[in-house]
Symmetry: C2
Subunit: 427 residues, 2 copies
Amino acid sequence: MNLEISSLSNGLTIITDPMASLESAALGVWVGTGSRQESRPEMGISHMLEHMAFKGTATRSARAIAEEIEAVGGYLNAYTSREQTAFHARVLKNDVPLALDIIADILVNPAYDAAELERERQVVLQELGQARDTPDDIVFDHLHAQVYQGQALGWPILGEESSVTAFTPAMLRDYSARQYRADGLVLVSSGAVSHAAILKLAEEKFAGLSAGTPGAAPSAHYVGGELRAVEDLEQAHITYGFPGVSARDSDFYAAQLYATILGGGMSSRLFQEVREKRGLCYSVYAFVNNFQDTGFTGIYVGTGPDEAGQVSAVIAGEMDGMTRDVSDAELSRAKAQLKSGLLMGLERPGSRAEQIAGQIFTLGHVQSVSEIIARVDAVDAAAIKSYAARTMAMPSIAAVGPIQKLETLERFSTRFASSTTFGQAAE
Amino acid sequence: MNLEISSLSNGLTIITDPMASLESAALGVWVGTGSRQESRPEMGISHMLEHMAFKGTATRSARAIAEEIEAVGGYLNAYTSREQTAFHARVLKNDVPLALDIIADILVNPAYDAAELERERQVVLQELGQARDTPDDIVFDHLHAQVYQGQALGWPILGEESSVTAFTPAMLRDYSARQYRADGLVLVSSGAVSHAAILKLAEEKFAGLSAGTPGAAPSAHYVGGELRAVEDLEQAHITYGFPGVSARDSDFYAAQLYATILGGGMSSRLFQEVREKRGLCYSVYAFVNNFQDTGFTGIYVGTGPDEAGQVSAVIAGEMDGMTRDVSDAELSRAKAQLKSGLLMGLERPGSRAEQIAGQIFTLGHVQSVSEIIARVDAVDAAAIKSYAARTMAMPSIAAVGPIQKLETLERFSTRFASSTTFGQAAE
């Protein structure tokens, strides 16, 4: 990567990542604010703001925004997570100025029209319904709610029917004025782009962006708990959570490698034991979610009503095994998976831009590829075993479906004898 | 693209698509057989064969397959569709020979071990359960079953519990011997690959592949019908089907542009009318499914119980409008969307390899990018309006959820006065 980085006088960070071989580009603005910055009445407002950005500006109607970008075959999209909101586009080389103009316009000059809000509220309520109809989606909301009980980080990104119904244009403007401030935004472009051209355009188009620093999120820590929703489904959708580390932690890559060995691919322990050897499921995997100041280890398994009575013991057994031995072959395989994923991601402008933005928010700078590879290579089996031992304290369970036979959290907890844990969990 | 094409003496087609700027490659074998080639007792066997390919060969255990590819950070996957089965890998440049070796091994020397089949049967039954828990997935199976009623093309790719339960190793071997024959397979690689090296390896590794031509699929045609499954869900997941054209039809790109204008993006008529203006849904879109000898136009909308009573009229109105006028701006926008999608897809080795394989099966040759662009550009508004008029005959409906207020197919059909249709529908 040959990154060029500048800042506008209002504080907006601009990072350009040219890729000589490409005829297209990915560009977007990543906003370092998401659902964890919300107060309770604002639950879901980051996501509603994301939607409303497309509903018109001072000079463009919603239809004009859609038509202008699609007239050049471009693709404009957005997403909201717990810590970020992103507005991004994929366009051919010559259409980068248009995409930048539209993204700047929807961020700097949103109309937040009351009639548009009424209509978009209905759309978001429909989106909520769609999420509830997808059990292997909604179960992760339940898991976050248990892991971060009583904290904004545990709230659903889409909000709840009651909060979404109460949003007003004034609330949108308040939240936007507080959070959409130049210090908290980064404009990243990867692909067929030139820094000078992007910078010149951005100076003009983002001039109206409010300077200053956005409101910080309340700190969060692992609490843990259990949510069981018995529903008439074919499958029991079961998730487990355990204390982990933040994205800034020195054990970040140990956590990634732990999840890869435990349940990251076809050769992982969970895939081999739960699916291949016992045929208990189609999907099983482990993951780590790492936020700015906290994180957790997670496991998902989708299984039948009877099998739901068996999986917890098998999973606890595999987690326990990780504390005792991690083979050289497993560790080297997990490192190869992480590194090749990184190298292949470098070939896609969209994933490069997203990676760059994420590192800016987490670390304050962009790590070079060789730096990341060195950090991955530095992790030894002892670090993985130590992570394995510490993450086993204080499990959480969230499950949806025919889960009558799934053992309780109380019973599941007794399977984990370890008493050491991560600092944050003991807070 | 600078394709090089060769054939082995057994008939296997080998296509290499080098991309100078890449350090990684996508490669795979696409098999021109899928669920439409199955007899009724074989329902789901193409998909089961795909699974069993990973369960061991004459010299590799299931675990060895997973470990070998992941040891180099590679990624091996497969999918089954109604007309194809694909086994593909993403690897770094130096690991192309390993990936090719493994793909050849699982295709040429599968073990089809009885004990492994028992276990994998449980996995597939779990996968069936997972699909049934995803209403906006399963509803498309129901739509295919209505559109191609009584024909293998309308069967579910995963099969049914009764068929999956009855598979034996002998059935797998029979089906494989009949369908996995060199004339019906194509090995495609895109990215950091050289034709000479691939060809040399393939000659050795695919030498054991049976020569000959696979069994042909029975021809299929649009029949149409209605499936309503009232279920206790948040949303009504509604799909509509209408007669369309095959992937070989001269109107193929007219059909694609029709679907793009009607419901292909944020500026499309359905998105603007159903979501943006009326707030009736979060998701609405149109698509065309084009098979070798038949095809259909489809629409999906996910909406609430009350809104389910309104959407049919709105959709019928928009479809009717497409028969009367298609503006220059809309047509040019849809062309730009199709063309830029094509150009951006060219930057990803995985999508290039998949495109190449698909064109070989459909057209018998690979179209150049300029050829495709010329065909897209040649479509005029008259061709779109003609497609619009012809597709409106004989609608189908498949819907899942709180659909009590959704109007019947009988009522919906009266909204379409047109009597002209595509040849195949009148068969």
